[in-house]
Amino acid sequence: MVENGLFLGATAAAYGMPLIVELGVFFDVLVAGLIIGIYTHRLQDAFDSVDVSKLTGLRE
């Protein structure tokens, strides 16, 4: 959520960065989304739930 807002803000302030940059950013965000999807899937397999607040195994 935070990240979407930030990206939106960044794009809004960009006033049209050179095309290659915008393409690159788009591609990065796309792959990032894919990876989050992969992780959600794997987390679901391992933890049987997508409830992030249950990720408390690692402390300190």
Binding site: I35, I36, L43, L58, E60
Partner: protein
């Protein structure tokens, strides 16, 4: 000509190797491919560094430009990346032969690792703040998949934390980057020039001060998250501890340094634009905070990989203080520290990985007598730990002394706090690691295969030789590089180490 070709090789070879790894006919050929990649990268890096050290920047087109700072980063990336690849061939190869890893995952590991290295080498060679951001983000993505590679609950959780914090950080860094562009396009127009580090540095005094300052804050928090700077460091101990050990080494040694590099580039521009008085307190403050938090948390670690991970946070803090204090001594201290830390920390993780392969657990308490049980591993861990604690005869001692001296000149109490924190960290690290190395071995564990030994020992030897020699001798070309890098940041001065 040759230099241009070597730069092209540096930026293309890892990508090619990564993609090829997926389609190589069998595992053996893939391993040979990785070996070939290491050889090619080392050769290309050698040519590149030599050329830049003798005073020329390497430029290809409008986008690729390697100046002294870029060459320095490439030097670090290829040395640690190279030993990391060799070590990984041993480590992951052992897991493969033990049946803990499937051949297709083995391939995927090296593919991702190659892409990770490609992204970072690109980040250091691109003269464009936005494309560099894209490269750093690319390395983050590859690293995200590598952190959670083992798919255990702990690894996935660590990977998830890493993703969340890294993506927020990188989004903040993007915002900062866009702000710089916003300021720059008024002066340089709507073009790629407005994104070029070189151009920005030249026009820095004409850029809007408020925008620059704001941009720096976003960038230092954003890229600082990736560098493991406190208080945005919380993802680091988990990620570096849960990742497969070759990855832990390369995260601590390379990713953190590339993130620092990004912060440094912008700091350079902001300092040229509004004077160093703005960035100095921010950078020194974050640096001291990082050292403090790391030193304190190291006291309570029971997992030896987490211990080394916190040590990384400490050393990033030390480098930041050096850069914040500035001046020739401060800058040299910071850069020298980055290099030596990369070597020492990767060595430490390599040995940690060997311990993990042998004993199957990461509990510090249960490991003793490494020096008797596995002399090479124990000896290397001892050397690395002494180096990390900041003792002579290693380079980290030299850089820390330089930073303290420079800090004392600027503001004595910073030096005092710095020294105090270092003393704490020194004691803690040694108190935690020495019991692992000395004494009688308690558990026997499972020995590692001969071939694995060859790979891992080679990686260790290269690292240790480099680490030890830097403590005594600064090679000419490196001195030249440092001189040029420091000149980039202000007072040009010749660097000589007696």
């Amino acid at each position: 000509m040759i230099a241009d070709a070597s730069l092209a090789v540096l930026t293309l070879a890892p990508l090619l190797a990564g993609l090829l790894s997926l389609v190589m006919p069998n595992i053996r050929t893939m391993e040979w491919l990785q070996g070939a990649l290491v050889a090619v990268l080392v050769a290309a890096m050698g040519l590149t560094v030599w050329r830049v050290a003798s005073g020329h920047e390497i430029v290809i087109g409008h986008l690729l430009r390697v100046d002294a700072l870029g060459a320095f980063m490439i030097l670090m990336l290829v040395i640690v990346g190279g030993t990391g690849l060799i070590y990984a061939l041993g480590y992951m190869g052992e897991e493969l032969s033990r049946g803990d890893l499937s051949p297709s995952r083995y391939r995927m590991f090296f593919c991702l690792l190659n892409l990770y290295l490609w992204a970072m080498i690109s980040a250091a060679s691109i003269d464009n703040i936005a494309l560099m951001w894209i490269a750093v983000e690319g390395s983050t993505l590859a690293a995200a998949l590598l952190v959670g590679f083992e798919r255990t609950k702990a690894a996935l959780e660590a990977g998830w934390n890493y993703i969340i914090l890294s993506f927020i950080g990188i989004a903040l860094a993007l915002f900062g980057t866009v702000l710089v562009y916003y300021a720059a396009e008024r002066v340089l127009g709507v073009s790629m020039d407005a994104l070029s580090w070189r151009a920005l540095r030249l026009v820095a005094p004409t850029l809007d001060p408020t925008t620059l300052k704001l941009a720096f804050v976003f960038v230092v928090i954003g890229y600082g998250t990736k560098a493991g700077v406190a208080p945005m460091h919380t993802w680091l101990p988990d990620a570096h501890a849960q990742a497969p050990t070759p990855i832990s080494a390369m995260l601590s040694a390379l990713m953190l340094n590339i993130a620092l590099y990004a912060v440094l580039r912008l700091k350079n521009i902001v300092d040229q634009g509004v004077g160093a008085a703005f960035t100095t307190p921010i950078v020194i403050g974050l640096g001291l905070l990082s050292i403090a938090i790391a030193a304190v948390f190291m006291l309570v670690q029971r997992d030896y990989k987490r211990l080394f991970a916190y040590s990384s946070i400490e050393h990033v803090g030390i480098a930041l203080v050096g850069f914040g204090v500035g001046g020739p001594a401060g800058m040299f201290g910071g850069f020298f520290h980055m290099l030596n830390h990369a070597l020492a920390k990767s060595t430490a993780f390599y040995t940690a990985g060997l311990v993990l392969l042998r004993h199957g657990h990461k509990v510090t308490e249960r490991v003793t007598g490494l020096l008797r049980q596995e002399p090479t591993t124990g000896g290397a861990m001892l050397a690395a730990t002494i180096a990390l604690a900041g003792m002579p005869p290693f380079g980290l001692f030299i850089s820390e002394v330089l930073i303290v001296t420079a800090a004392y000149d600027r503001c004595p109490w910073i030096a005092a706090v710095f020294l105090g924190l270092l003393a704490l960290a020194f004691t803690t690290l040694l108190a935690q690691v020495l019991p692992m190395i000395l004494g009688e071995p308690r558990e026997d564990g499972r020995r590692v295969g001969g071939l694995t030994r060859h790979f891992t020992t080679s990686a260790l030897i290269v690292n240790l030789v480099a680490l030890s020699s830097l403590g005594f001798y600064l090679p000419g070309f490196l001195g030249d590089l440092f001189t040029r890098m420091i000149a980039l940041f202000g007072n040009p001065v010749a660097v000589e180490i007696p």
